[in-house]
């Protein structure tokens, strides 16, 4: 890797790290938010509760890292869910159908926007 590429990679990582440094906490006591307003988001909330909450409680850190404070695009979240990463297992479509994954990602984005 050339020096210019190293500097660019460091810059990108730095910018992303800054973007990811906010609090990941989103619970009702801290934010005052209510229930998700649409049926799709409510489906996503139930899917999140079944498959994600135990390692990322409320989208914050726990066994796994926090999700709420990372500016990941939806397609990359889906990629990681489908393929797994490190200690996180893969969730194939026979376990998590596409419709449920889409709803979960939309819910996660909605939750991410409920900042304290």
């Amino acid at each position: 890797m050339t020096g210019a590429r190293v500097r660019a990679a460091v810059l990108v990582c730095g910018l992303l790290a800054v973007a990811a440094c906010g609090s990941a906490r989103r619970g009702v006591p801290l934010t005052g938010h209510g229930e998700p307003p649409t049926a799709e988001l409510q489906l996503g909330q139930r899917v999140f509760a079944r498959y994600c909450h135990q390692c990322h409680p409320g989208g914050a850190g726990g066994l796994g890292p926090a999700l709420n404070n990372k500016p990941l695009p939806g397609w990359l979240i889906k990629f990681q869910v489908r393929n797994g990463l490190g200690a996180m297992p893969a969730f194939p479509s026979r376990v998590l159908p596409g419709e449920e994954l889409n709803a979960m990602v939309r819910y996660l984005k909605w939750l991410r926007a409920r900042r304290p």
Partner: protein, 496 residues
């Protein structure tokens, strides 16, 4: 994926690897902190949904575990008399006076007293670890008698507190001896294997083994030798394929019941690792919290969050071979560090395990449970669960503190909401965050009016150097109720 998209993904994946790789990150459990007494108590450091308030009712308690009400306005707490970390004291039942002072009602010699309930003019207390587990009957004037004895409570998990069912029977959870069915060096570290080297798990019905054995260091001998141990047998005893282990009604990993007048206990359900607390919902259904597998011992299991079960009579719930209806012999549960996958211990399983009502945080130690029953508090029919909080790294690594709060669970959907949490940019106990809020919520129960939720906060327990270190005198009994002038049952509005 296109090449352009792949190029865009590279730095994002790099960020994920930098900030989210489990193996690279250090353990950051809630107890992995230093504590300098005294414990501060500051209700304003606890965040609640709009319209609720929290206040301390009693302070300076030592290892409190549960709260009970006598129906005449009296509030009582149990002090365990034992804590992980091998601290042994006297278990107590205390009356909490209106000014917050406590008066001794009764004490015992077989801690821990894990929970109490009041029924038919007496308290019923579950406990025991230094000797076999018991259900005790304690009168208001402090006379103690044994209702049930000889429960298998000498191991990791104990006899837990009973509740009164709508059928008039007393129901309680009995924990297992081990993490995942096999006695190992982790049980020596917990302190009981050297006391009771022949103790092991006991099933509630006959089980047939697959014959899997585990060879480990032998901490019971001074020599540098090794021992081979199978499932449901003492340390150092191997098993064979097809071997049958006889079940007994005084078994571990079960919900049991007995009449308040005494008699032989009955098995309600089994295959539950440590069903710490039980509660009946307003529609009469029995629910249990279950503390799930740790990443420790001869058969470590990774990634198993605590569970909330709707308990059906006669059903086996999966321990030691399943988690939340999933068999353990798959990638999901592989322990880190290249340790072996947890292969199945039983050759045949009593039934296909059901799916839980809710999945709670891994290592959250989700414990006390009760249901709101009406508009006086709100959220009628929903469960409230006290989360003691992780004991990382002893039970396994976490990258951020888990638990240390009270959550609300919609048992119909499985959705979990924070309800009482410490303020701050991260989650954790007050001793870690530097505030005066919650430490380790363990028990909770609504008062007889249903208007106030009492939360039993065990107090400070750190895990520096990998060993639990509980601090006597730091326990608190909190009360959560609606703030004056707020509409009962109202839900906060969304703020888009």
């Amino acid at each position: 994926m296109t090449a352009r998209r792949g190029a865009r993904a590279a730095p994002l994946l790099a960020l994920l690897l930098c900030s989210g790789c489990f193996r690279l990150l250090p353990s950051r459990g809630g107890g992995e902190t230093r504590f300098e007494p005294p414990r501060r108590i500051e209700p304003a450091d606890v965040a609640l949904p709009a319209g609720y308030r929290i206040e301390p009712v009693a302070q300076g308690l030592t290892f409190p575990t549960s709260v009970a009400f006598d129906g005449e306005g009296g509030v009582y707490v149990t002090e365990a008399g034992y804590s992980y970390g091998e601290v042994v004291l006297e278990p107590k039942l205390l009356r909490v006076e209106p000014d917050g002072r406590t008066t001794l009602v009764a004490s015992g010699r077989n801690p821990p007293w894990n929970g109490a309930t009041f029924a038919d003019g007496a308290f019923y207390i579950g406990g025991g670890h230094l000797a076999h587990g018991q259900i005790l009957r304690v009168t208001r004037d402090g006379r103690v008698s044994v209702l049930v004895d000889s429960l298998p409570s000498l191991g990791d998990h104990h006899t837990n507190g009973p509740v009164l069912g709508p059928d008039g029977w007393l129901y309680w959870g009995q924990g297992t001896a081990t993490n995942a069915g096999v006695v190992g060096p982790d049980n020596y570290d917990y302190g009981w294997l050297q006391r009771y080297p022949r103790f092991h798990d006991v099933p509630c019905a006959d089980v047939t083994l697959a014959g899997r054995n585990f060879t480990t260091a032998n901490p019971l001998t001074p020599e540098d030798d090794r021992a081979t141990t199978g499932a449901f047998v003492p340390f150092g005893v191997a098993t064979t394929a097809g071997q049958v282990i006889r079940g007994r009604p005084r078994c571990g990993g079960a919900v049991l019941r007995v009449r308040p007048t005494g008699g032989e206990p009955e098995v309600v359900a089994w295959g539950l690792r440590n069903p710490f607390a039980l509660a009946f919902s307003p529609d009469g259904a029995l629910y249990a919290t279950e503390n799930q597998y740790d990443v420790r011992g001869s058969r470590p299991v990774f990634g198993a969050g605590d569970l909330l079960w709707r308990v059906q009579p006669g059903v086996w719930y999966g321990w030691p071979d399943f988690y939340a209806g999933r068999a353990l012999n798959q990638e999901w549960f592989d322990p880190p560090g290249g340790r072996p996958r947890p292969e199945l211990l039983l050759a045949r399983h009593p039934n296909a395990p059901p799916r839980p009502a809710a999945l709670l945080g891994v290592h959250s130690a989700s414990s006390g449970i009760d249901f709101s029953r009406g508009p006086a508090f709100g959220h009628a029919g929903q469960a409230f669960v006290a989360q003691f909080g992780d004991l990382a790294p002893t039970v396994g690594k976490v990258v951020s503190p888990v638990g240390f709060k009270v959550v609300r669970v919609d048992v119909a959907s499985g959705v979990i909401h924070d309800f009482a949490v410490n303020r701050g940019s991260t989650n954790g106990p007050a001793s870690r965050l530097g505030g005066g809020g919650l430490e380790r919520p363990l028990g909770l129960r609504f008062d007889p009016t249903g208007a106030a939720l009492y939360v039993v906060d065990f107090g400070v327990m750190t895990t520096v150097d990998g060993q639990p270190r509980p601090r006597p005198g730091t326990g608190v009994l909190w009360r959560i109720s609606r703030a004056p002038g707020t509409a009962p049952g109202a839900a906060p509005e969304d703020t888009p």
